[in-house]
Every structure is written in C-alpha cells, then in structure tokens.
Amino acid sequence: MTMDFLRPATWAEALEAKAERPGAVPVQGGTDVMVELNFDVRRPDALLDLNRVAALGEWSAEEDGRLRVGAGVTYARLIAELGDRLPGLAQAARTVGSPQIRNRGTVGGNLGAASPAGDGHPPLLAAGAEIEVESAARGVRMIPAEEFYLGVKRSALEPDELIRAFWTRPAGGPQYFSKVGTRNAMVIAVCSFALALHPAERRAGTGIGSAAPTPRRAVAAEEFLAAELDWDTGRLDPGLPRRFGELAAGAASPIDDVRGTAAYRRHAVAVLARRTLTWAWHDLWAAGPHEGPHDGPRGRVRRPGGPVAPGDPGDPEKPRREAG
C-alpha cells in the first residue's frame, strides 16, 4: 500500500491538489488523521499536508466586525490569542485532549472530522459562526455552523472542498461551555453544552454536543430564553433555568453507548444548560441591576466535577469554580 504525500505551499495550490485528487485526506494537526493511520482505520492513497499553507494559521478582524479564524489556528493559540474575544470557544479548547493535543489540534480539524463529540462545535453553534469553505471549481461557500453538520462524522463539505476558516462575532456577552466526562484530560465528552448570551439582541444561542448524531442547537430553548428572560431588570425567576434545561434536553436525541445511557445524557444536558445559564446571567448582571447588563469577564472554565448524579439539584446560586 503506497501513499502519496502532497505538500502545497499556498492555498491556491492546496485547492488545486484537492480538485485533482478528491480522495486525498487533508492533514492539519494530524491528531485525528494520525490515529486513524496508525491503527489502519483509514488507508488513503494520498495525504494533503496543509501545514505549509501559512494563511490557514492566521486570524484577522474583518470589516463587518467579525473575526475570521484560519482553519489551521491551533487550540493553544486560540486560547492564548483569542481567549478574550471568543471565551466560549476558548473554554472548550482548554478541555480538548491534553496540552500536547492542543498544541497541534485545530478547530478546522475538528470541523473536518465532524464528530458529534467534537468540543469546538457547541460554541460555534451558540455564537452563530459560519464556516468558510472553498473549491477551485466553485469558489467560496459560507456555511452556517448549524447547516454544516449532516450526520455522524458527515459534514456539508464536498470532496473537492477545503475548510478555509470560521467566522464569528467577538462575544457581545457572557459565554460558557461545560462538558461531562470522566476526567479533564483526554476525555471524549459524554455530553456538552455551550451558551452565548447576546444582550444587544436580547437573545441567547446554544449548542449541544455528543447528545445527537450531530452537534445541534436547542432552538426551542433559545426561543424560550428570548421570550422569558428579563433583560430590563436582570431578575431571574428560579423556575426559568429549570425550564430552559428541560427544553435543552428535549432537543437532544442521545443514544446509549459505553460512555453513558441516553437517559443519563438527556439528564446531563438539562443540568449543563441550567448551570451555564445561571453562570452567564449572573456574570451579565454582576455589577448590579441598576448598572444594566455588561460584558462578562474573560472566559472562565466551569465544568462539573464529575458525572451529574440523577436528581442533582445542580444549580449553584452563584457561579463558582469547580476544581477538576
């Protein structure tokens, strides 16, 4: 079994190579691809190494106010360079794999793999990100994150396309990501939840991971928040986070597997949704209601200390740090 190794130096060359050999497997950080190669899960006849395409490793602030983050920006750099503007995604990034994995792994690779358990997806959904993909034949397509994921490890990317970047607005309010796994390092999420408050628009975005064949938004839960949250005084009806959690759990369609049962996952989604809402709302109003909403602090990480026990009341009155 032979394997060609293609190493384009520019984005244009990369697109050409992908057009000529749609079967070539792109490699960015290699943290997914190499596992498959080492274990013979995959035997591609060609690899397309994208590491020489410098543009993929760059990010920029664009004229429309959004950030355009190259598919090759590593988690480590995302945390260090964009943690203040993309706190939800940075929180998720800090839980990916291990430090070594974060030094190499990328959001582009997470999108390319399109695993329902990928930690990058829920924050992208919650923030309303768009994925920029391109082919030599048809040029650029902008795909909203929620239309990108089509099935388990299937995405809207065509065989001749490559992922160029994702586009997202810098956080306009508090964002949280929370996941349930057995320990912090190198856990594939049993389930995860991301919440982004958009106070200027008086609405919230959500993303659920590992609890359906694809990452997905909890649309009914978002509509409920837009209608019911008291954006004028900041008062939080105690029943509201619970109802939000129920609606979020309703959006999940989890399966039973070795990491958890469907019932447990649905319960855990409810708890994570409740918690992230309580934390985010508290951050938004931390300066006191008379001051009105303000931006949350730079992304902090909160995650359940362990599996969520059924019946866990689980709603801290105040945000608190939970040691791993």
Partner: protein, 183 residues
Amino acid sequence: MNGETDITGADGVPDPVTADLRLSVNGVPRPVTVDTRETLLDTLREHLGLTGAKKGCDHGQCGACTVLVDGRRALSCLTLTVTADDVEIVTVEGLADGDALHPLQAAFIENDALQCGYCTPGQLCSAAGALAEAADGWPSAVTPDLSAPPRLDETEIRERMSGNLCRCGAYPGIVAAVGQVAR
C-alpha cells in the same frame, strides 16, 4: 518527495513511497530516507537510534513519545516525519548540556520522580514544554485569573502535565520536581 518515486518493485508489489529528508534533531542535521507513512516516533527510534521517546500507545493518549518541536511539546506518534523536515526537533537525549543535566533531569532524580522510567523521557520533554508555555503566559483550564501570569502551584502542574501518564504512579515526585524547577 512528492511520491514521484518508482512505486512498483521487481516483484510487482508496490514499494512504499519514500522521501529523502534532512531532519534537525537535537541541533544536528540528520539526513534520512523514510516511508511517507512513517511517524516521527518510528523515525527517531528505528532510523536515528534515539530510543528515548517511547511508544506507549501510538495514538496520542499517554504522552510517552513527547518531544519538543520548535520548542513546543508535541506527540511524535501523531507527527508524520515528512512534515517535520523544516522544524527543530529536541528529544530527551538533547535536553542535557553535555554532561550537565537539564535542571528538570536533576530535579526528577532528586525528587524520586520515576520508578520504571518508561514514561520519564516524555515527562521531561513535556515538563520543559509546560515551563515554556507558562513563561509565555499561556493559561490552563485551571488558571483562576486569566489576566495575570500563571503561578505553577500543584493544581496547575497537574493540569499542565495531564497529557503524560505514569503507570507506576510517580506523580507526586513528578509534580514536586516540576514545581522545584518552576520556582
């Protein structure tokens, strides 16, 4: 290099596609011919005689194969050698300065940070990378204040070393050794 090599051997069985590379390992240029599918871990161990990096799992989960690539810690089992011809690779063999141990190596000995030693080369390279990351102000998942330079207390060290497993459970010594050098 681009797979242009003759791919059919005399027996009609395709030969592996190979590439001639010049790696830089521990500051020394190392010319080597590798299969394009080969991992850096295999190249270091099988072709370059550098057996410090260990193959604990071959899929990114144990950290025993950790080396430094351009000063950052990376898993050599998840790195294709053909992608490493334009970077500086440092393995555990390159940490010491001649006969003078690297401070982390000395601290590992002093703090009994190993038993069988299988994970130690990866732990040392990972610790060197962790110290550099902290010096550059990179936060971890447990850094409380993201605006201040991280302080490497036990919780931080445990989190930052979480990509390296030790079957012998030498963790207390490892944490102590890293902490000693961090101060």
